[in-house]
Amino acid sequence: MHTYSSPIRKLLKNDVAGQRLFWILLAAAVVVPVCNLLVPRESMFHISGYMVALLGKYLCFALLALALDLIWGFCGILSLGHGAFFALGGYGMGMYLMRQIGERGVYGHPELPDFMVFLNYEKLPWFWYGFDSFPFAMLMVMLIPGVLAFAFGWLAFRSRVTGVYFSIITQALTYALMLAFFRNDMGFGGNNGLTDFKDILGFKLQSAGTRNALFLASIAFLMLGYWLCRKITVSKLGRVLLAIRDAESRTRFIGYRVENFKLFVFVISAVLAGIAGALYVPQVGIINPGEFSPINSIEIVIWVAIGGRGTLYGAVVGAVLVNYAKTWFTGAFPEVWLFMLGALFVISTLYLPQGVVGVIAHWKRNRADKAARSGSAARQELSTEGPQS
């Protein structure tokens, strides 16, 4: 396809699918802003501002799916609470955006956000300090999910909480956080969450330019996230992670400190999820405690499962596919969507253990095998062997 050695090829060696994904993302980075800003509104090639934000949202979800795939697909840790890290990152960004409103709020208070004035706060709670600074807020977006993941993982992995038990307590974690954030006296806006954002870094959030910039930032971070995950999974560390996924006790007995490997990858994944949340909030314009709800976290799992667990590009494909289906179904047949989602869960676990990309790979390999007409039986045997939970 490419006669010269492109930088992407160097970046992702031996990952043809990843290279393709990068080309697609780069193409989107050019096409979408051009079609949105330069193509006139009447043209059929025009992409609406709503569409740009929607695509940006999908990209954030893709990054989130990538984060989950890193731990589930490559280390066998099924977290049913990854939405919590995503939402925490989102709240970090939301707090920055809230502070940027300044005196333009309904109550016009120079320092306190509207909901605090409404709830009779005297002064800013201590944990809101510093969030008026963008670098500090972005640091927190990564630090808070990271620290929570570190504390939680440190406790859990050290006491060898594995498998289903880990899944259930991560679900309890996000559930507890949801209940906590729903409370008004937590200082995070309670039920309504944080909204009514005005601008980011001085640029108006509603303007087309900002929207496209956020879209480009989402693409950049998705590529960065993909590259990081790829680096991790092909390194020696990644090999150990795979070993932990497939035979945890054996890896431990060989002499690896399993809990440290797990903790490392869990924290990385949580930070990625936090970044995804921070990119998501300015594009949708609101963050509320509903993001913590257990069903959101479990939906992430289904993106990865549909796309193809254990392949990084599969997670991206799954996130975009399922979310596109969700957007379409909730618009066209709202009552059918949950049936569809439920069926997706069942079908993907029963019939698509390797997701969509697994099916495509299988089909391709079959064709190649037919062409070669040799040793097909043995290779087919190999291809059906997926990651076991």
Partner: protein, 548 residues
């Protein structure tokens, strides 16, 4: 009423004589006529005559006079200008309407002038209160007397002391006696007799009514200069002692009530979790659709009540087996269609059953609408045991506790004493060996899963009496149920019972100072930390059974 006679009110005696005379003179006049005559006389011109009419009504001891006297006391007794007929005044849709005292027919009033209030004065109102209290305390029915006695505690006044004393003399019900004694003490505490005050303070120390505490508090209160409102030291000491006694008792009963509430909450958790203890604990299947089995049970109750609207009292009894069958059948279906293919892959099972839960939720939403459905509570479920002024235990919580224990006992019996239970345990312990002994392990799996789901359905029947029946009913309980099973130790029914009850009680004790939501968060965080410490739960299985 009898008491009223023995009170020795001169007027009453006089009246009795008058009545006797009337009766002798008019031997043919019926009792009813005397009643209506006396009632009509309430509308006499002079207050004296009205007073005598009240006495006459009391003397008759007719229970029908109570509402008339009450209406008169509240100023709701009127008479028609034209005919002189007596009328009740009532509020209906924010409008004042009238109806006749005799016959209860509506009486249309053209203008406000057509009906006039029967006027009373202070003295008459006092007499009315006494008369009503006397009438009610003289009633044949214990409930009426109990209610009247409680009322007296709430508004005791000096005028009523004699009535109360008289009633106490002939009262044989212990509870009524207690109320009367408290009511009397509440009056006596303000008397001028020192000894009487001391004894009444002591009596109030045994009471748990809030009025007792309210009456005692001023006695020990000092103003800003340190001067006590009550001058007598003995009285103050006695009052302080009595207050301490009451507060000690209130604290005790408060604890008892909290434990009871906690146990009932624990029973709800237990019912929700015990089915999961089978599917998760025994079979190792993570059933995220467990909450939806509970929901199906609750909806089954709703449907049963729709099918038998005339037999609401019996509907719950019918709903229990029905819910078991519906949820159980659904469980068997799920097991055969989906879970069977996923044994040994717990994470995949988790995802697939989660998908099923979404489908079931949406199905219920499509069939029954997303709105909450109204499940009727039968009469025998509502009401409460009134232990005393500080403690009352509601019947529905009481039944839930017993019901959950009953379910657990039945389950233990099923697993320990029946052939099916034996097969179930055999398959759990060693599937290959059980197969070779001729047990159809596939069939046992399906039945076990059906059993766990069926019990969730039964939990749904119980929950339909406590919470709203809606499509999200199950979701609210799924995380809690998992917490209970994991906390108690997987594969251990006793652990599940213990975990459910202790979590319920802890939750209730946290509520007063942490609030319901924060209390729940604390419990969740506690369990998350607990699992770190003991990853296999409180009562983990030891030895070979503990191996994965």
């Amino acid at each position: 009423m009898v008491g009223y006679f023995e009170a020795g009110y001169i007027k009453a005696r006089y009246l009795r004589d008058v009545l006797l005379f009337v009766c002798l003179v008019l031997p043919l006049a019926s009792h009813a006529d005397q009643f209506s005559d006396a009632v009509t006389t309430l509308n006499a011109d002079s207050f004296t005559e009205k007073e005598q009419a009240i006495y006459a009504l009391v003397a008759l001891g007719d229970e029908r006079s109570t509402p008339v006297l009450k209406a008169m006391l509240e100023g709701k007794l009127h008479y028609a200008r034209e005919s002189g007929e007596l009328l009740y005044e009532r509020e209906e849709n924010r409008e004042t309407v009238y109806e006749t005292v005799f016959g209860g027919e509506p009486f249309v009033v053209e203008s406000r002038r057509d009906a006039s209030k029967i006027r009373t004065n202070n003295n008459l109102r006092r007499q009315l209160r006494t008369a009503i209290a006397g009438l009610e305390l003289g009633s044949e029915a214990v409930e009426v007397r109990l209610k009247a006695a409680r009322n007296l505690v709430n508004n005791s006044s000096e005028d009523l002391t004699q009535t109360i004393r008289d009633a106490m003399a002939i009262e044989d019900d212990k509870k009524v006696q207690e109320y009367l004694s408290t009511a009397l003490a509440l009056v006596d505490i303000n008397s001028s007799d020192h000894e009487l005050r001391l004894s009444s303070i002591e009596r109030l120390g045994n009471s748990l009514e809030s009025e007792a505490l309210a009456a005692l508090m001023p006695l020990v209160r000092a103003d800003d200069d340190g001067n006590f409102a009550e001058e007598n030291q003995d009285i103050r000491d006695a009052a302080a002692l009595a207050i301490k006694k009451i507060e000690g008792k209130l604290a005790f009963y408060g604890t008892v009530e909290n434990v009871f509430f906690g146990l009932s909450l624990g029973s709800v958790l237990l019912l929700a979790a015990v089915g999961l203890a089978i599917t998760f604990g025994v079979m190792g299947v993570i059933n995220m659709a467990h909450g939806e089995m509970i929901m199906l049970g609750a909806y089954t109750t709703y449907v049963v009540q729709l099918l038998m609207p005339n037999l609401i009292e019996a509907s719950l009894i019918v709903a229990i087996p029905a819910a078991f069958l519906v949820a159980g059948a659904m469980g068997v279906l799920i097991e055969r269609l989906v879970i069977r293919h996923l044994y040994g892959r717990p994470l995949e099972t988790l995802l697939a059953t989660f998908g099923i839960s979404l489908i079931l939720q949406q199905a219920v939403r499509s069939i029954f609408t997303p709105l909450n459905r109204q499940v009727i509570t039968p009469d025998w479920m509502s009401g409460s045991f009134e232990i005393n002024g500080a403690l009352s235990l509601t019947f529905n919580r009481f039944y839930i506790i017993w019901f959950s224990l009953l379910v657990v006992i039945a389950l233990v019996w099923l697993t320990r004493q029946t052939f099916f239970g034996l097969q179930m345990r055999a398959v759990t312990q060693n599937r290959a060996m059980a197969n070779s002994m001729g047990i159809r392990s596939g069939w046992v799996d399906a039945m076990t899963f059906g059993l766990g789901s069926g019990i969730a359905g039964i939990a749904g029947v119980a929950l339909s009496q406590l919470t709203n029946v809606g499509p999200n009913l199950g979701q609210a309980y799924i995380i809690d149920s998992f917490m209970v099973v994991v906390f108690g130790g997987v594969g251990n029914l006793f652990g599940t019972v213990f975990a459910a009850m202790s979590l319920g009680v802890v939750n209730k004790f946290l509520e007063p100072f942490a609030g319901a939501v924060l209390g729940k968060i604390i419990v969740l965080v506690f369990i998350i930390l607990f699992i770190q410490w003991r990853p296999r739960g409180m009562f983990a299985l030891k030895g070979r059974a503990a191996e994965d």
